[in-house]
Symmetry: D2
């Protein structure tokens, strides 16, 4: 049994950590912080947690107390983990950051996209990008994990087999992604109101979105060369889920694409390659840590289409964070992550 803390626990990734960790037999959530809700019990804010965390209350984010934890999750806006991570690491506490703070290896690029100086460039060298399907061994030994973003997770897992096999033109990638509204967080914004966002569909950030450099970096790592990616996210009228539709231009005879995907992910506990001809639904992963994939080659032509679905709050955030924790602490990788999706 390890003790963990959560910094910034009032948002959706925070409550999702609590929901999932309630089922984790080897983790005790000993501390959760929130400046705005200090003293409030988590089950008063999130009634779904009544009966699970009946005494846990939000506290001030105190570095010393956090330093007594075995691991600390950051479920915070960008910038917060920069300020605290170094001190925690020195105390021997592992840091699993769900924000964007350590995802880009280049501090300057981070600054350009996030509009502020990078607060902890000295830690970039050791931060491990927490996508187990690419970096499992590094994760096991990491002290500091940058949990991938939701869009980047779904896009990278979809392109991975094709890029590794060198089958598609890395300069002509198009990722058309659709996300439920929890991707925009729990902030009170007019655009996220039910009256505004339901019964409608729209793109956003078509000319540039912060997840673009993260995805590009990840795809470069696979490809070992520059990539040209067009990434258009869309706001979809549903609570959870990301559906990424990925397009690539074949540069060689791909052979059996279905087999390629099945083999690549044969041993991955959280990637499910659907049968040939499938169209995975986001609801099939509602509440769980699985990414479901299907690969199509319309009309046997030059374009390959990958359909990739995840729950943005689980495999796209809190579930993947726990998967990383399991790897770091030597637990079974799927500990606490075994329930089926809620459907319907």
């Amino acid at each position: 049994m390890i003790k963990v803390g959560i910094v910034g626990g009032t948002g959706y990734t925070g409550v999702e950590l609590l929901r999932l960790l309630a089922q984790h037999p080897q983790v005790n959530v000993a501390m959760i912080t929130s400046r705005s809700e200090t003293g409030v019990k988590v089950c008063d804010m999130y009634p779904n947690l009544r009966g699970h965390y009946d005494t846990l209350a939000f506290s001030e984010p105190d570095a010393k107390q956090l330093g007594a934890m075995d691991a600390v999750f950051f479920a915070t806006p960008h910038g917060v983990a920069h300020a605290l991570a170094g001190e925690l690491l020195e105390n021997g506490t592992r840091v699993i950051d769900l924000s964007a703070d350590f995802r880009l290896r280049d501090a300057d690029e981070w600054s350009r996209w996030y509009g502020q100086a990078h607060g902890a460039p000295e830690l970039l060298q050791e931060a491990v990008y927490g996508l187990p399907e690419m970096h499992r061994e590094k994760i096991k030994n990491a002290r500091l994990i940058a949990v991938p973003g939701c869009y980047p997770t779904s896009v990278q897992l979809g392109y991975l087999p094709l890029l590794e096999a060198g089958l598609i033109d890395p300069g002509q990638l198009i990722a058309d992604c659709k996300s439920g509204v929890t991707g925009a967080g729990r902030g009170a914004k007019v655009g996220s109101l039910l009256a505004e966002a339901s019964e409608s569909m729209k793109a956003y950030g078509a000319s540039g979105h912060r997840h673009l450099p993260e995805i590009s970096q990840g795809l470069r790592d696979i490809q070992q060369s520059t990539v040209g990616l067009t990434f258009v996210p869309h706001l979809t009228p549903m609570i959870r889920g990301i559906h990424s539709t990925l397009y690539g231009q074949l540069t060689a005879d791909p052979g059996d694409l279905q087999a390629l995907f099945e083999q690549r992910y044969a041993n991955e506990p959280f990637v499910d390659v659907m049968p040939a001809g499938s169209h995975p639904e986001t609801r099939s992963v509602k509440g769980i840590n699985t990414c479901r994939l299907a690969v199509h080659r319309p009309g046997n032509g030059n374009t390959v289409v990958v359909l990739s679905v995840i729950d943005n709050l689980v495999k796209g955030a809190s579930g993947q964070a726990i998967q990383n924790l399991n790897l770091m602490f030597g637990f079974d990788e799927n500990t606490g992550l075994t329930a089926p999706a809620l459907m319907p």
Copy 2:
């Protein structure tokens, strides 16, 4: 470890049994039947079950094979359990019927509401109404359980403390109930299409609904006298959840209503009395077996209002069925039913 079978597993209560039992450490689902889908694997029909029941397939409902189970759930339209229950009971198999077949003790009343003769009146004497909060001891020794309907569960749990305490006029009960669309089942009906049922609210069955006699029977059992109940169900644009708003006319000084409710349910694992002044949301029980209640007395007047929420597929069907199974087989009552609700 016991072996259970599910008859009629293609509907929403069937797949919900599978979802919940996947987390039950003492139950092996050895058989699931469907005439229409014989041979189809359950995970092909319900992709959320991929990785959980990878070999289980629908089979013909064969009484002999079902008789080899320790218990059989009926997740069928009414009439099916009538035909099979007797033979199973003779073989020593316990029967947990989620349909309406054994809910009404009076076969004639059943016939009037369901438009056909009762198929097994000889079993009515022994059937136990599976509402643990009222009949826990009988359930423990039962061979045949009639799992309460979704509306009846939420209404009875809400009125129970008031009627037991003799505080309200049993002749003037009004239950205004709102249900998500899964209450109408998985049948392909125009009225249940997203294009028809979303972005709208309507009552139905205002002049009489099949759950009325069941609720009235249950309230009579509590009250030990006739009751006058007006019950108006409403179709609500959401997948899961029932919100029952219950009105009663006080006949005596009720004292501390909050304390009354808290005491009545102090030891109930699946009834959660919310703090005074609360308004429980159906989403706070999404996917779980809990009924959350709040009691109000507007303007300190003569009318008491109880707000009662459940997930119609869990406490209103499959979860309650498993709660009954746990009691019948001596397992901890909440075995397999401990995950928090999915929220948001």
Copy 3:
């Protein structure tokens, strides 16, 4: 052609006035005010208005300029009309207030519910409650209209025939009302987010809501005696619509209830009594000024149930405001209000 102004045009009732008035052949919207959006074109804020108001922009609420209008709508939070109405009336401008400022005739009662002193008690005497089905003649000659609230409109129209006929106990009225989220306005509140309010149902204000005294006052006017009303509003996961389910206890043989309702509303252009046995859907009035009603007497017993649906933004606000304007200026009552509802 008359010139009208709209004060506070950025909220949902403001944009709905614009949408409806775009189809009104005798009204020119010459001015719309908003402190926060001064200078912004309405079609930039509300793209559905592109092509309709391509030059109209929000301006400061200037009393002098407003005084040049024939009529001014207030689509503002409470308190604003108090401050401006008197001056406008003196200038000969008619005032149609969609807020609660002039709905209650008793300034003290208003203060208790709204937590501030009434700002214009001297105008209460002349303000007319703008429910045409009750006060049509007074409206025609009014200078100042208090447009009824959304819940009060649906509840009063439902009870009206029964109370006028003296058929139900005025001391035992129960109004269980379900509203779409636009009833909560366009403010950025966490509870109104799609991620919070969709896929869920909840009551609110069960112990007391600001529309209660307004409804009670209206029902007293019909009944000519005190009434006892329990009113429980519910937040429903849809954009528009109110469904009020109204319960009354019969005190006399009601005779033919269907005929009673049909006769009462035979000449009302915006009240549609549905055929006997109907269950009106809120979507059947989406975008239009109609209230659809159905009356039931379950089991031929003592309880009568009225189902009443409106669009909260139209008959519950902006449409009814225009209906009042039409009456005040001698236009056909349904001018600009003739389009069918959008369905599906």
Copy 4:
């Protein structure tokens, strides 16, 4: 005033024709047919039409009676218009077919995609593809109109300026399209249930969809050469609306793309080019005949992205059909099509 008939009026495009034509001052809907609902009044089936078509009832599709109409709309499954169109044309009745029957000019290609022989190949020569933005003059003189499909309308209007200007590679077009569920019609299918289709997103027909050859034919007409199009439709949890995200590879310096689009559509009453940087929402066209477009060039690179939204039932079907009718009969093109979109 002309007399029109509607064949197959029970589906969504049929009721949408009725809704829109109720506002058309020069059209009298004299006849509507449905084999399954003969004798039923349209307002009993569609309560939103109460007060608008109080006597119109569904009748048998009788060719002679239909031949007395000035124009007949077919809102039918494919194959029906094949059987009736010829006889109507001989009688001098204009035919506006909302189905796919006359969209493809090649009868063999039609047969391959629709799995049956083409029933009226002799009419293909004269059928005009009813996209006014491409074929306005031909439409004015047409007797037989093939109203474009919903996806094809949104895709062609988006690519049109780019292809006409020869700016993109016609061999590398990718159309990622998202549609509300009314696109699947009013048939009672499990996949269209609220419980199945809400709170989820999925692609379908990724390997080939019937709208593909129609779009390809239309783009070839613009391009005057073969095109290579990848088309992936997605089912989106909303009632109405299509959002097409269109990708093209620039082959030349495009200059000012915004100006290109604005100029191409400067005189089009139903195409609205949004300001530079916009992301149109489908709800901004809910219920109206407008297509809103925005054009982006991410990172000033080689990929151009066009965002195109329509209401699938209006510009994607019934509204465009009426636009065609207006052109054919010399009415103002926007007669009956001037109301603003319903928003929120």
